[in-house]
C-alpha cells in the first residue's frame, strides 16, 4: 500500500496529465458522433451570452449588406404575391381545418457565432428552448439551407452547419427526381459541398440546380441549395458525385429562419414503429 501511494505521489504530474488527456480525448471522440456532444458546446449560458454581446457590436458593420439581402427577399416574395394571387388555393385541394397553419412553422433567428474554417463547423443562434426550438429543426436563409439544429439550451441553440463532415442532408436534382445525400468532405472551400449517390441514369448537367428533397422530415421539399459545378462518376460506376456550388454565402450570414416540421413526429412514428 505504501509503495502504491509513493508511486502515485512521485508520478502525480504524469498521472494528472494522463487523466486530463484521457478526458479530453473522450470529449473529442464523443463530439465525432452525431447527437452526442452534450457537454462541450457553444449553446450555453456563458458562451452564448458572450457571443451575443460581441455580435451586437459587430452587427453594425454589415448592416447594409443584410438590409440589401432582406430587401431582395421581400422583393421576390412581393412579386410572388402579385403575380399569382390565387396560387395558394390551386395547390391545396382542400383546407385542413385541424392543422390549418400548414405543415411547417417558421421562426426567425440571428446568427451570433459562425464557423467555416475547421472540418466540423457549427453556428450558434440566439434562440433556444424558450422559443420552442428543439433538435432536428432545419435552418435556412432566404437563399438556401444552412444546417440542422443539433443542440439547444434555454436561450441559445447550436446549428450543425452543412459545412460539417457529420452533416447528411437529403437533396435532389431540380430537373428530375433523382435523390442523393448532401455532405461535405471537410477540405473544399466554404462555397462547395458534395452531393453523393446520384444514380448514373440521372440527367446531370453543369449549371443545373440542386434543391432539398422531400424525403427528410426536417426540410420541406424545394428549398434551393446550389448549382452543379462539376461531376464525376464514382469508381464503382453506378453513382455520380457532384460538386455543388452553394447559393448561400456561408461566410456571411446573419438572419436565418428556423423551420419546424409539425408532422415530423407522426412520420417518424409511422416509419419506426415501436417494437413489441
Amino acid at each position: 500500500m505504501q509503495q502504491i501511494l509513493n508511486f502515485v505521489i512521485r508520478n502525480k504530474t504524469f498521472l494528472l496529465f494522463l487523466l486530463l488527456f484521457v478526458i479530453s480525448l473522450g470529449l473529442t471522440i464523443q463530439s465525432h458522433s452525431y447527437h452526442k456532444s452534450k457537454f462541450i458546446n457553444s449553446a450555453n449560458f456563458l458562451t452564448g451570452g458572450i457571443y451575443e454581446s460581441a455580435s451586437s457590436v459587430s452587427d453594425y458593420f454589415d448592416l447594409n449588406d443584410q438590409n440589401e439581402i432582406l430587401l431582395q427577399e421581400n422583393n421576390r416574395l412581393r412579386s410572388q404575391i402579385f403575380n399569382s394571387s390565387d396560387s395558394i388555393l390551386k395547390t391545396t385541394a382542400y383546407i385542413d381545418s385541424v392543422s390549418f397553419n400548414g405543415r411547417y412553422r417558421v421562426q426567425s433567428a440571428k446568427i451570433i457565432n459562425n464557423n467555416y474554417s475547421s472540418s466540423k463547423n457549427y453556428l450558434t443562434i440566439n434562440k433556444g428552448e424558450k422559443d420552442a426550438i428543439k433538435e432536428d429543426f432545419g435552418v435556412i436563409t432566404s437563399k438556401g439551407i444552412v444546417g440542422i439544429i443539433d443542440n439547444t439550451s434555454n436561450g441559445y441553440a447550436r446549428v450543425l452547419s452543412i459545412l460539417n463532415i457529420k452533416s447528411r442532408i437529403n437533396a435532389q436534382l431540380k430537373a428530375s427526381n433523382h435523390i442523393g445525400s448532401l455532405k461535405w468532405d471537410g477540405k473544399s472551400s466554404a462555397t462547395t459541398v458534395q452531393l453523393a449517390d446520384i444514380s448514373k441514369f440521372a440527367p446531370v448537367k453543369k449549371g443545373d440546380s440542386i434543391m432539398t428533397g422531400g424525403q427528410s422530415t426536417i426540410f420541406p421539399k424545394g428549398i434551393p441549395i446550389g448549382t452543379i459545378e462539376s461531376y464525376t462518376l464514382d469508381s464503382s460506376g453506378d453513382t455520380y458525385t457532384i460538386q455543388v456550388k452553394l447559393f448561400n454565402d456561408m461566410t456571411n450570414i446573419s438572419h436565418v429562419y428556423v423551420i419546424e416540421n409539425l408532422d415530423s413526429e407522426e412520420i417518424k412514428l409511422l416509419e419506426n414503429p415501436i417494437d413489441e
Binding site: K12, I23, L25, I40, S42, I50, Y116, S119, G186, S189
Partner: protein, 168 residues
Amino acid sequence: MNSVNINSIIRFVVLILAQVLVFNNINFLGNINPYPYILFILLFPINNNRTLFIFLSFMLGLFVDLFSDSGGIHAAACVTIAFIRPPVLKFTFGMIYEYQTIKFNNTEFSSRIVYFSILVVIHHLIMFLLEIFNIYNIIFVLQKTLFSSIFTILLCALISILFSNKQR
C-alpha cells in the same frame, strides 16, 4: 494574491476572449487561423506548481473548446504541451533553466523563437490530428499544421515583443 497571480488570471481571460472573438474569425486564405492563446502556457512563470500548471492548461483548452464547438481537441493539445514544457525549456535555454533563474523578457530572441516553435508545432499537430481524426488525411493535417504554425509563431513573437517590459 501577488501581482504574478493577478497577471496570470488577466492573461487567461484576455487570451481566451481574444482567441474566440478575434483570432478564430481571421480565416486567412479560407481556413488558416492562428491560435495565440497558448501564449498563456508558453509564458507561464516557471518555478511554480507543476500540477496546477497542467490543470490550468487543461481549463484553458477546455474553454476554447467550449467556444469553438470542437469537443476536446484544444484541451488535449494544451495538456500535452504543458506536460512536455520542462524538457523543451531545458533543450532551448540550457543553463539558465537549470538554475531556475529564467525570465522570458530577458532571454535571447532567437532561443525564444525556437522554444515557441517547438511547442506551437506540437500543439497544432495534436490538435489537427484530433480534429480531422482520419489517418488517410495525414497530408491535409500536416498542411494545416504547417500554415497555422507559421501564423501562430509570428503572432506569438509579435505579442511577446509588444507586451514585454524589458528590464535589464
